[in-house]
């Protein structure tokens, strides 16, 4: 599903990622944890092709992202739900239209769009904010809108970069539960987070990054002491 083979990313002289190997199977749920600046967002950008690795190979959904042509990228991205860390929304469209845009761009018909947008808005609890513009949302609402957009077309792969950063613990856990439900329906999910409580409670696979390197990889249902060691290694 997702496979990184000895991937490095170099900005100037700084290594953001250093010979990273990672393989995620279909149906897995993976937490990506690490201190700030560890390279989590960089890794995500590689997956959806916004960034190319300086070295190594990036395979996503069977496609070699590291050498896809720009015009091939859109078709890959349509099979991925992407929540970037800066949760960008189209600034001149309401929440409803933001989600509809993605669906229409993929080719959904108008009635399907309407139905699906209503569904995901209800899922993330933004029914009341549907007609608000992005600059009229609270931080947490904007984040949920971005998640709603990402999951709108039931993508087989979901990538969310700190989707709970601006959320209170309750809403955070609801979002994670939502992602786990989507995962149970068959989608592969990769989520980065700083929230130890969530990681503990979710009991899923956890991959730890530290200064651009994978330092720990605890499988689903791993022993608590393994997680503790992981937290210690990345100071979570």
């Amino acid at each position: 599903m997702v496979e990184l083979k000895s991937v490095s990313v170099v900005y100037g002289e700084q290594h953001a990622l250093r010979r990273v190997n990672l393989s995620v199977e279909k149906g897995e749920f993976v937490f990506l944890v690490g201190a700030t600046g560890a390279g989590k967002s960089t890794l995500f950008k590689l997956l959806y092709g916004e960034l190319r690795p300086s070295e190594g190979e990036v395979w996503v959904l069977g496609q070699p992202v590291h050498r896809l042509k720009p015009r091939e990228l859109p078709y890959l991205r349509r099979r991925m739900g992407i929540v970037p860390q800066d949760y960008p929304l189209l600034p001149r469209k309401t929440v409803w239209e933001n989600i509809a845009y993605g669906l229409r761009a993929i080719g959904y018909g108008e009635s399907a769009v309407r139905q699906r947008v209503a569904q995901v808005l209800a899922l993330v609890g933004l029914n009341e904010q549907a007609r608000q513009m992005p600059n009229q949302l609270s931080g947490g609402e904007a984040q949920r809108a971005a998640i709603a957009r990402a999951i709108a077309n039931n993508p087989p792969l979901l990538i969310a970069d700190e989707p709970t950063a601006n959320l209170d613990p309750d809403t955070s856990w609801e979002i994670i539960e939502l992602l786990m439900r989507i995962n149970l329906r068959g989608a592969t999910v990769i989520v980065s987070t700083h929230n130890r409580m969530i990681v503990d409670r979710a009991c899923q696979r956890v991959v730890a990054l530290d200064r651009g390197q994978v330092v720990s990889d605890v499988p689903r249902g791993g022993y608590p002491y393994e997680l503790d060691r992981l937290y210690a290694s990345v100071m979570l």
Binding site: P74, R77, M80, L90
Partner: protein
Amino acid sequence: MIDRLRFVLHETRESLLRNATMQAAAISTACIALILLGSASMALYKLDATAQSLPSQFEAEVFLKMSATRQQAVELKARIEAMPEVERVTLTPREEAWEQQKRELADEVNLADIPNPLPDKLTVRVRDPATLPAVAQQIAQSPLVEEVIDSRQELQTVLSIARLVRWIGLGAGGVLLLAALILIYNTVRLTIFSRQREVRVMALVGATLRSIRLPFVLEGMVQGIVGGVLAAVLVLLGATLVSDYAVRQWPFLRDTPPGLPPLAILVGLPMVGALMGGACAWWATQRYVRI
């Protein structure tokens, strides 16, 4: 396919309706560029037509030998009229010419008693002034003809002035066309530039390069059309006002040939606007829209 089209049209409409500032800027820029282009075209077309119409007043004067009879003069007239380049030939009998001369000089000299020294004269007008020298030369070969005066010198001057007007017109038109393109390109480029964050979001949800670009291109075309219609109306209004005033002040201006027909402006400017707007958006998106 229909969904695709609907999507693109929908996005274009949204964008046109939402960004009032940008629309105002883009449309007024297109409008100004097209006003310049349109009024320059009209002025230059008029000037060119006027310059082209001047030489039609140039004619050759054919003076026959004193020995030629009236019968021969009429025959020669018929022969010249048969030439394909010739439009009209007028015969001025020597008696008529002398009467006129006497009348003109009456204030200064009394010519009443002097015998008529003038010959018969044919005035030859050709269809295309450029053929006049050749026609004159051919006529001069006739044994009946004493002299042909074809005002070659003046003709050359006027023709070359007409050429100058045409060249300056084409040059100015070309410069203005380029200027209009650059102006519209700049505006479209700035609007696209200021929406790069939007473009990034669109790319992230998997919109193809084409579905991102097409709304920009259509938007550019609509802006061009709206600007063009405004420009056409303003140009026609301005032209009517100026020409009304000018004709009232200088009645002789009434005799100049008609200018560019209003329909050409009304249809042409919006079309040129659409073309330019679309093309500029196409280039600008090519440079500034990346996936």
